[in-house]
Amino acid sequence: MERSRDDASAFEMIVHRHYEALLAYLARSVGTQSGVDLAQQVFLVAFESRERFKPTQPSARPWLFGIASNLLRRWYRGEGRRHRAYNRLGDGERSADEFTSEVDDRLSAAGRRDQIRAALGSLPKRDRDPFLLFALGQLTYSEISVALGIPVGTVRSRIHRAKQHLSGLLYSEALNAIDEETDRLG
């Protein structure tokens, strides 16, 4: 990373090293297409701000995931607005076809993923960031602490709270669905 300050091409090593993990995290969080877009944004922001990276950090990983968290938060804001706008528009009657299509969606794997993502998106913002980094990004507590700039103890308590919150939503239900699907596929 330090070399990339003077030599922009050196930054490509950072991309090669961290792209896959970051894309996995973002795609799990918001779906593949948005994940791809966000992953590119993460690296562009990181590239533009590479001067600010502290060389004392042993790895760029938490830094990049910190940027990803910021962009994700912004994405959720936009989604929230779109969702509310959609709800306002969607008050009219639906046709039978629309209804059937919605039911099909809900039963499909994609529908389940959407439900899970909606549940994750409904977490309080403060708890969502560390939970997503932990559960979907597979960062350690200390990496999350660096990524979000909060103490490790706070990371722990927020993740714990997020888990409790999710278990009251559709977390367990969805996990059962995965088991069913795994069994079905043998």
């Binding site: 922009a8 562009l44 910190g66 968290s69």
Partner: protein
């Protein structure tokens, strides 16, 4: 397989990793090319020098006699310090994503909101802190689910873009450095570079005649600050 692993498996889809990585690399190369065309990169020493110069210049502008004359805080209705959970979208340079809790204090006749340390796109250690002061009577309030930016749009009071327009209407000094002030639709947004490390210092707000309005301690520890009794 534990629950989290099952969760990840459910959310995993086919990802065009190599293809999208190539596009990202391409985008970075383009960006690098554009940057090199725009200007040669400044050395870190030059950057520091520029920063110091900018701070000194900001100080001169803020301290210039008459620069703060437009500052005329409107009285607000008295109430206890209150915590709200979010702030307008971004600091002026667009680098800070500020939806962290906000501490609000109302003293004398000006409301002050003090932000905690913000994780920023600059990454760990590259924090900025913003402080907002609003001159009219109504503070925007928000729950965890309602962002003030949206509320602000509804109320027609805050324009995100306007926050980037610097207007020196408030004189602020700390023990060591002066900070920058932006103004937009009733909000004063006060910000400073992370390098200044103002945590633990006191910000002094002065009226246009130079008389002292009040001090606000800068803290990053939300929940331990006396201004946040409602914070849990």
């Amino acid at each position: 397989m534990d629950e989290l692993e099952r969760l990840r498996r459910l959310l995993d889809e086919v990802r065009p990793t190599e293809e999208s990585k190539e596009k990202t690399l391409e985008a970075i190369r383009n960006r690098a090319q554009q940057s090199s065309h725009r200007q040669a990169p400044m050395s870190r020493l030059m950057m520091r020098t520029a920063l110091v110069a900018a701070v000194l210049l900001a100080g001169l502008i803020v301290l210039r006699p008459g620069a703060a004359e437009a500052w005329s805080p409107t009285p607000v209705s008295p109430q206890d310090p209150t915590l709200i959970s979010a702030v307008p979208d971004e600091c002026p340079d667009g680098m800070v994503d500020a939806d962290q809790p906000l501490l609000i204090d109302q003293r004398e006749d000006v409301a002050i909101a003090l932000l905690g340390e913000l994780p920023s796109a600059e990454g760990p250690g590259g924090f900025k802190t913003c402080l907002l002061a609003r001159e009219d009577s109504a503070w925007l309030r928000a729950t965890n689910d309602d962002l003030p930016f949206e509320l602000a749009v509804t109320a027609g009071t805050v324009d995100e873009r306007a926050l980037g327009e610097p207007v020196s209407k408030v004189v602020i000094e700390t023990d060591t450095q002066l900070v920058d002030v932006s103004y937009g639709n009733g909000f004063y947004l006060i910000w400073w570079p992370a390098e200044l490390a103002l945590d633990g210092e006191v910000m002094r707000f002065l009226a246009s005649d130079g008389s002292e309005l009040f001090d606000v301690p800068v803290t990053h520890e939300i929940g331990t600050d006396p201004l946040s009794p409602g914070n849990t």
